[in-house]
Every structure is written in structure tokens, then in C-alpha cells.
């Protein structure tokens, strides 16, 4: 059932995202016209549009994700979706996975757009020595930085899950019967409350570890000697790992709160 829900969620949402991706790539390619004397103005306008479209893409992705969740669970489409023979976990997971997928694809498209821009206007790939990438990889491996990069990439992925789950949880809280007349305010206040609680917990943990962090800061305040780079990277990985764990715990809490409220306190109007 989860696979089927994923398929239909992708079918329901791809139209909203393809348009913005096409606009982004098209505006990047249009900047090439800056090289033609008779179309220079078009090129300059296109280059301004590229940055505007990039900002719009990020905003539209998250608005679309929230809108899709609201429409398909709490709107008239909920009469179809919420009577399908699927558990609440399957309903939420399918939407969560597809939303995260669109966020990742948006990131990839934006990265491709940036590299396209750099190639069009700076010929970045013309001057690149790909042989140096091998040396870079060796240096990263020797200094234990591969794990750091993996942890950073996992953190980015988990953060995307966390943001989407925040939106879902806030929307579900806002649709509780008690907030019937104040949905938008309830949703915004729920997001603010999440931020507040998370920042308090992080502050508390930072305070608890302040002694250790100060010692670390004092030890490496004048730079990191070559021989101590692996040790320093180890500490860095530990800090990133703890931050990742905190994000995972909060995300799980929001996920279970969302599914609990949908299972026990749902009232489709």
C-alpha cells in the first residue's frame, strides 16, 4: 500500500514542481544571451531573474508541500484519501517521503543551475583540473574528513525531514477542533512553539557541555597543528553527531504527534 500511495502522491504533485524547475533552467540558459551584443539586455534581465527564481523555488517548494498536505488530508480530497485502506502511518510516510524527494530534487536543480551559470559566464569546467580531485579525496580520507562530509550530508537530509515534519505537525495541530476558528494563527504559533522548545533544549545541552567546549576552544584557539587534525576532526564529528541526534529525536516526536492526532482526533469537515 505504501508504494501505491507514493506513486499517487508523486502523480499528484509533479506538475507543481516541474514548472518551477523549467523556469529556473530556462532563465539560466537565457543568460547566455548576454554574450550576444544585440541581446545583452535580455541576458542581464535573465541573470536577475535567475536569482529571483531560485529564491521563489525555495519558497514555492515549502508552500506547495504544506498546501498538498492540507488539501489531501483536510480538504475535500481527504474524503478520498482518508478512506483508502491505509494506516495513518502509511498516509503520513508517503507524503513525507515524496515531499523530501521534491526538496532534494529542487536542491539538485539549483546546484545544476549554479554550475551552468558558472560555466556560461566563467568557463569553470574549462579550467578545472579533474586530476586534483583525486588528491583532494586522499587528503579528506587521511584526515578523517570523509565521515564529516557524510555526517553533514546526513544532517542536511535529516533537516529536510525535520522541516517537513514541522509543517505537517503544525498543520495537524491547527486542524484540531479546538482551533477551528483560528487555524492559521494556531499553525503559526505551533511552529513558533517548536522553534522555542528546540532552541531551549539546544541551549541547555550547550550549557551542560560548556566546560568541555571551552576546553576544546582553548586547545585549538591558535590553530590546529597538522598532527592533531584527525583528533580535531573527531571532536567535530562528535558535535555534528550530537546535533544530528537532537534533530532526529525532535523529528520523531513531531512524526508521532502528527500520526497520533490524525488517528485519534481527526474531524474532516
Amino acid at each position: 500500500m505504501l508504494g501505491k500511495l507514493l506513486k499517487y502522491e508523486i502523480k499528484s504533485t509533479y506538475r507543481e514542481f516541474l514548472g518551477i524547475y523549467c523556469a529556473l533552467i530556462a532563465s539560466v540558459l537565457l543568460t547566455w544571451t548576454m554574450k550576444l551584443p544585440q541581446l545583452e539586455t535580455v541576458g542581464y534581465i535573465a541573470s536577475i531573474c535567475v536569482f529571483a527564481v531560485m529564491v521563489a523555488a525555495v519558497v514555492i517548494v515549502f508552500i506547495s508541500i504544506l498546501n498538498a498536505f492540507n488539501k489531501r488530508i483536510f480538504g475535500r480530497q481527504g474524503y478520498l484519501n482518508m478512506t483508502l485502506p491505509a494506516s495513518t502511518h502509511q498516509q503520513v510516510c508517503s507524503r513525507l517521503l515524496v515531499s523530501v524527494m521534491w526538496c532534494l530534487i529542487t536542491g539538485i536543480v539549483m546546484t545544476i543551475s549554479i554550475f551552468l551559470l558558472l560555466q556560461i559566464h566563467g568557463g569553470i569546467f574549462n579550467h578545472m583540473n579533474f586530476g586534483e580531485l583525486g588528491d583532494l579525496w586522499t587528503a579528506l580520507w587521511e584526515n578523517n574528513l570523509v565521515l564529516t562530509i557524510v555526517l553533514i550530508l546526513v544532517s542536511i537530509l535529516v533537516s529536510i525531514f525535520a522541516i517537513v515534519l514541522s509543517l505537517y505537525c503544525a498543520s495537524t495541530v491547527a486542524h484540531l477542533p479546538i482551533f477551528r476558528k483560528f487555524k492559521i494563527v494556531a499553525g503559526i504559533l505551533t511552529l513558533v512553539a517548536f522553534s522555542f522548545v528546540e532552541s531551549r533544549v539546544v541551549s541547555l545541552l550547550t550549557w551542560m557541555g560548556s566546560g568541555w567546549l571551552n576546553d576544546l576552544g582553548a586547545r585549538f584557539s591558535h590553530g590546529v597543528p597538522m598532527a592533531q587534525i584527525p583528533e580535531f576532526v573527531g571532536y567535530l564529528n562528535l558535535i555534528i553527531g550530537i546535533a544530528l541526534l537532537i534533530t532526529v529525536v525532535f523529528s520523531l516526536a513531531k512524526y508521532f504527534l502528527t500520526t497520533y492526532l490524525l488517528s485519534k482526533h481527526m474531524e474532516l469537515e
Binding site: K11, T83, M266
Partner: protein
């Protein structure tokens, strides 16, 4: 496998309130298998609330609701074929998209039957649902619902807002396409049009059950039609 001894649904001490307003008050019902049941009452009597609880669209209530002995959840949603009182399709959907979705999601759905039914209606499977008239959408939704071999069909106000010819089509479709091992619940306030197909009627007034009986017994006891009885019970 359909278990013949278990009632379609059992509702015990069901109460549902919206803030200060009680939509359903201590409702107790046993919905028998193999019957066409009329859930009758004026607007605001609690029919749709009861239906939404049965179908899992409302999960916040007091009391117990069992469908074929099971609490409402993913399992019971697979047993129930539900027709709401509104269009629930996404704007991008064509008729064939909806049929393929039902085929995918419901093991008891007969896609070939659905295509045949919409063909008889004169509908184009490639037509966007949002471009259909309200009457055509209502008929299309009914075709999807009745193309399933469900244990319980729940039709919420299927006759509202459609012309008399369309009403006859809807009632005939229900009669021809439901399985005799299944039950059908039809909520309506248009009694005279549907009285002929009911086996059992339930009168719901201000969230309370006023009457629940077999139609033949009722007519014998009262010497009145259900429509006449309804007007008496719900007199303003």
C-alpha cells in the same frame, strides 16, 4: 471472506459533540447484513456525522463503533465503499485516472465494470472530472463506488441536487450492482424517492435514534408509508 453471522456494523453508546453542540447522543445500533438501510432525518440530524465516524473520517468520539467486529481503521476501510456528498477528486484527474486509482487501492474493485458503466453514461474516460457537470460527477462517483464488491456500501445523500431521471438511475444502479451478502446504507431526506428500495429504516432526530425497524413491519404497525411517518415524526 464475508462472515455471515457478524452484523455489518455495531454502534454502542456513540456520542459526538462539536464544542457545545451534540451531534450524536448515545446512539446504539446494529446494522444487519444483506439489507438496504435508510438513514433518514432532516438536515442537521447527525446522519453525515454518523457516516463519517463509520468511515473513519471522524476519530474523536465517545463510544464504540465496530465494522464486522473490527474497530474502525485501515482494515474496515477496505470493507466499506463510501460515496460522500461531494466531489473528492483532484483537479488533475481524468475519469480513467480515478478508475485506475480505485483499481490500485481496492482489491475488490472491478475496473472493467467501471469502464462499462461510464460508457453507458456516455462519459469519456479521458475527460477531466472537473469539466463534468455536477450531475455527471455524482453519477461517475456512484459508478466507482458500486464497481466494488464491498461488504458495506455507505452512500451519503446520493440523491441531493440531481434531477428525477438521475435519481432513478442512481437507485437502479444501487439495486443492480450491490452484492446480496453486503449491506447498503443510504442517508437521505428525500424519502418518497427511495422508500421502495429500503429493507430497514432508521430515523435520526437531533442526534438521537427515534426509530429503527424493518419497513414491512413499520407499514404493518402504522398503516402508513415511510414518507408519511417521516413527516409526522419530523413535523416542524
Amino acid at each position: 471472506m464475508k462472515e455471515n453471522n457478524v452484523p455489518s456494523a455495531v454502534i454502542k453508546n456513540l456520542t459526538k459533540s462539536y464544542g457545545g453542540f451534540t451531534a450524536l447522543r448515545d446512539v446504539n445500533l446494529v446494522l444487519p447484513k444483506g439489507k438496504i438501510i435508510g438513514l433518514l432525518g432532516p438536515n442537521g440530524s447527525g446522519k453525515t456525522t454518523l457516516i463519517k465516524i463509520l468511515t473513519g473520517l471522524i476519530t474523536n468520539y465517545q463510544g464504540e463503533v465496530l465494522v464486522e467486529g473490527r474497530p474502525v481503521g485501515a482494515d474496515t476501510k477496505a470493507l466499506i465503499s463510501y460515496l460522500p456528498d461531494r466531489n473528492y477528486f483532484a483537479d488533475w484527474m481524468r475519469a480513467r485516472d480515478a478508475i485506475f486509482l480505485f483499481s490500485d487501492m481496492y482489491a475488490d474493485f472491478n475496473g472493467a465494470k467501471a469502464f462499462q458503466m461510464i460508457d453507458r453514461l456516455g462519459l469519456n474516460a479521458n475527460q477531466k472530472i472537473k469539466s463534468m457537470s455536477k450531475g455527471m460527477i455524482d453519477k461517475f462517483q456512484l459508478c466507482l463506488v458500486m464497481s466494488r464488491e464491498a461488504h458495506l456500501y455507505v452512500l451519503d445523500e446520493p440523491l441531493g441536487g440531481v434531477d428525477p431521471a438521475a435519481r432513478d438511475f442512481i437507485l437502479d444502479t444501487v439495486l443492480k450492482n450491490y452484492s446480496e451478502d453486503s449491506s447498503v446504507i443510504i442517508s437521505t431526506h428525500l424519502i418518497s424517492d427511495v422508500e421502495r428500495i429500503f429493507d430497514t429504516v432508521i430515523f435520526l432526530k437531533q442526534g438521537e435514534i427515534m426509530l429503527c425497524d424493518e419497513i414491512d413491519t413499520l407499514r404493518e404497525k402504522t398503516q402508513k408509508s415511510v414518507d408519511q411517518l417521516f413527516r409526522e415524526v419530523f413535523k416542524c
